[in-house]
Symmetry: C2
């Protein structure tokens, strides 16, 4: 039997659609300048913040924490970083503004054009660990033309937990085989594939900066491998 037609592309967002590292560094640099904070490297700060991301979700995956939105996890992690770097005396509104830097991430140069083309033929959905407000605000700010915001807050699970994929396909009313997970991360695609999703690897060689050592290539037999969303649109015949 032929594979079912692909109806929906579901996208990892942080790193795949948007460049979190340089965006957070830029926001941190501005924030530090505005608040007279000296001696903290903004790129190091961005990387340190992101390094707390997975361990904080792991506390949810393990059941140690009940389901908690990423905005809240980001804030817990930011508070930890502010202590670590001995940054104090900030107003609550200012800390909240910095925490929402994740709502203002900048897309990779091909993201908007590629998504716009892919949207003509497929349902395009976020399947991110980001919460709904974060994804909506990012989309409004960056012009990302999503058909639907899915992901952690809708399915109440964090990737790569199997239910994060199964419940996403179910929300779309589609069998997993009609959904294609699209990501710059081998582990996300492998986890999706194990639940029956089709897979598209999109290379983002500078997500982790100039010396990136992980996800520098597709390490498995994915259905599609591309170096941009526009390249993926070409391969999928989206004009």
């Amino acid at each position: 039997m032929a594979a079912p037609e692909i109806k929906a592309l579901t996208f990892d967002v942080f790193g795949t659609v948007v460049d979190w590292r340089s965006s957070i560094a830029r926001e941190a640099e501005t924030f530090f300048a505005d608040h007279g904070i000296k001696g903290v490297d903004p790129v190091e700060f961005a990387v340190a913040w992101r390094a707390l991301y997975n361990p904080s979700m792991q506390r949810v995956r393990s059941g140690e924490l009940p389901f908690t939105k990423l905005d809240v996890l980001h804030r817990m992690n930011l508070d930890e970083l502010l202590r670590r770097y001995d940054i104090g005396g900030l107003a609550e509104d200012d800390i909240d503004h910095l925490n929402r830097a994740w709502h203002r991430l900048t897309p990779w140069p091909d993201s908007v054009e590629g998504l716009t083309r892919l949207k003509q033929r497929f349902i395009i959905a976020t399947q991110s660990n980001g919460n709904i407000a974060l994804m909506v605000n990012m989309a409004k700010n960056a012009g990302l033309p999503w058909d639907v915001i899915l992901g952690s807050e809708v399915v109440r699970h964090y990737k790569p937990c199997p239910d994060a994929y199964i419940n996403c396909a179910d929300a779309l009313g589609l069998p997993p085989e009609s959904c294609m997970m699209t990501a710059a991360h081998n582990n996300d695609l492998v986890a999706a594939s194990q639940q029956g999703f089709r897979t598209a690897f999109v290379l983002r060689p500078s997500e982790h900066g100039p010396d990136q050592a992980t996800d520098t290539k597709a390490e498995h037999d994915f259905d599609y491998v591309a170096d941009s969303f526009t390249g993926l649109a070409d391969q999928l015949g989206c004009p």
Copy 2:
């Protein structure tokens, strides 16, 4: 203190954005012709199907049923109607196709233009009792430019249950006062208002056909009253 700025418009969909009555009647008419079903009036069938909508959600609201997607409730109600009208011998795929008529509803003439204008200034979200797949497929089919699909399946409650509104604002990361419920139904707006939402009544005088007797005018002191989405866009200063 001034009222907080409106950031998001949340929309009732069935009746407010799309014309379910004539769309379902059209689908039923085609279906009956294709399957040699005679003697059933398509408009009567559409109205009878819709009449089972609220009672079926009430079984969820009351706790008699666990949360059940509208696609499933629609199908239970369709099965009941097929028995009532003594329509038998249909293939499962055909019944499923008819059930998905709700995914193919036609917008009112001003809906796409009005939403497109409103989207320039506000987050536009569905806040419907429809499930995610239904809303996504309807949007793809009809060109409805939603920023985000919220509503029953995301919040796990059916309107006018208070949590259906509270959880929707929470998902957007907004206080209810920054959200404006937009609907053609007085009761939906009253329920939203009771949870702190701003309100916009949009008149849809033929939702229930030429002799419509309910929701023929705004019956309460809503924030905005319009006779189309383009009229609402005018009032809200959306070019």
